[in-house]
């Protein structure tokens, strides 16, 4: 194989250009890889997603975004009620479709409706009105919420690709090439907060389940929490104490709130990081073989279960019928409202 200069990177691509080798991983794509290689191939490499987005995902994103508006307004000097109404106004507008002249559809789960979303937001802000966690202010004066991060790891991927000499890419790069690329970890931290002088990553979760000890125990171990803890250690100028998890139990008639700390020791983060290297090596092997094996012990409630149950030759047609292509971009940034 001839080594040649690879084409310029697309700034929004987490993959080595011209290959199926991912080099920038966030908790979603890493979690997909860990769950099932085939799931990873379909959801991340090929970018298939259900035509109707999960109500749970929509609900969570909207609640996060409204809370972000609330923190931004407070950081700009607004009092609690003014900031609350700013977030509420945004939330109501975000859940109304002006083209269809009706609220957006939040179907499929009786507890997650527009009303329970708005109620959860208002009750949450009121519940934590005198929050002992103080949102960190960034140097630019903005609150540290929905904070995008990315950092290089000590791991690398080596990808081989081929550029079509007739494409619009730089003709000098046409032909076969190999490239070694440092692996990047990236993502978004909900909020950085200080408590008793110590720094925490604060995360927000919604659930219909009871907020007892078992609920918080499910996050140790947990891919996302470990990645966020590691990110906190890597990208901040001071060590973080752990993750503070704000949980919202959303029911038909009420929303309940609880807060728990998800600790991560240095040993635990070392183990997570070592395991990461093994998973990256697996991802490289799958990409080189262009084959992502099915983990048929992870099919319970998988969105692709019906696809994988079909004969292999017909799966693409079924995917086109029930899913749409939308590439997940771990390198997209947030926190810029």
């Amino acid at each position: 194989m001839t080594d040649q200069t690879p084409p310029a990177y697309k700034s929004n691509s987490a993959f080595v250009p011209g290959t199926k080798m991912q080099f920038a991983f966030d908790s979603v794509s890493l979690g997909a890889l860990k769950t099932c290689p085939r799931f990873y191939e379909l959801a991340i490499v090929e970018g298939w997603e259900p035509r109707v987005r999960s109500v749970h995902l929509t609900f969570g994103i909207l609640l996060h975004s409204a809370r972000e508006r609330y923190y931004h307004a407070k950081a700009q000097g607004a009092n609690h009620d003014t900031a609350l109404k700013e977030g509420l106004s945004w939330l109501l507008q975000a859940t109304y479709d002006c083209d269809l002249r009706r609220p957006i559809s939040l179907e499929g789960e009786s507890t997650k409706t527009r009303l329970t979303l708005v109620r959860s937001f208002v009750w949450y802000c009121d519940h934590w009105r005198d929050d002992p966690l103080e949102t960190v202010q960034l140097d630019n004066g903005k609150p540290a919420v929905e904070l995008s991060f990315r950092f290089e790891t000590s791991y690398e991927v080596t990808a081989r690709g081929y550029n079509d000499p007739h494409s619009d890419d730089d003709p000098l790069s046409a032909g076969k090439y190999t490239i070694t690329q440092p692996v990047v970890l990236c993502g978004h931290l909900d909020r950085l907060a200080r408590f008793n002088g110590k720094l925490y990553v604060s995360d927000l979760k919604t659930t219909k389940h009871t907020l007892d000890q078992s609920y918080f125990l499910q996050f140790s171990p947990d891919n996302q929490m470990s990645l966020y803890s590691l990110a906190g250690q890597m990208v901040l100028s001071e060590p973080i104490e752990g993750i503070v998890l704000d949980a919202v139990q959303v029911a038909v008639t009420f929303s309940r709130f609880s807060r728990g700390i998800v600790p991560r020791s240095a040993d635990q983060l070392d183990e997570f990081y070592t395991s990461l290297g093994a998973y990256i090596a697996q991802a490289q092997a799958y990409a080189e073989a262009d084959f992502w094996p099915m983990n048929d012990k992870a099919c319970f409630r998988c969105q692709f279960r019906n696809i994988c149950a079909k004969p292999a030759a017909t799966r693409t047609e079924w995917l086109r019928a029930d899913f749409r292509r939308r590439m997940w971009d771990p390198l997209s940034t947030r926190g810029d409202i």
Binding site: H56, G60, L84, L92, C98, R101, P103, T206, S214
Partner: protein
């Protein structure tokens, strides 16, 4: 014939205090629609009323829950306390 503005949305803002939460939502949506069509609209009073309604709900819920917790402390209630509904496959959790 299509009626683009609901009767609820057409009522004056000063009556917001008499509206239910659903009606407040509908009124706000009408304002959102008006804004989308370039018409300025004041929504502050509606938002204040919504927050007030939701706080009333919270107060009632908290009172009911406190009363329920008090009842649950009785020896007879403890025997029928519900178990945790924790499920290892909480895939709806975001």
């Amino acid at each position: 014939m299509t009626n683009e503005t609901s009767p609820v949305a057409a009522s004056p803002l000063r009556e917001a205090s008499a509206l239910s939460l659903d009606e407040l939502f509908a009124r706000f949506d009408a304002l959102t629609l008006a804004r989308a069509h370039g018409q300025g609209a004041e929504s502050e009073a509606l938002l204040s009323q919504m927050v007030e309604r939701l706080r009333e709900q919270a107060t009632k819920w908290n009172a009911d829950e406190a009363a329920g917790a008090k009842r649950a402390k009785s020896p007879s209630a403890a025997k029928r306390a519900p178990k945790s509904d924790f499920d290892a496959n909480m895939l709806d959790d975001i």
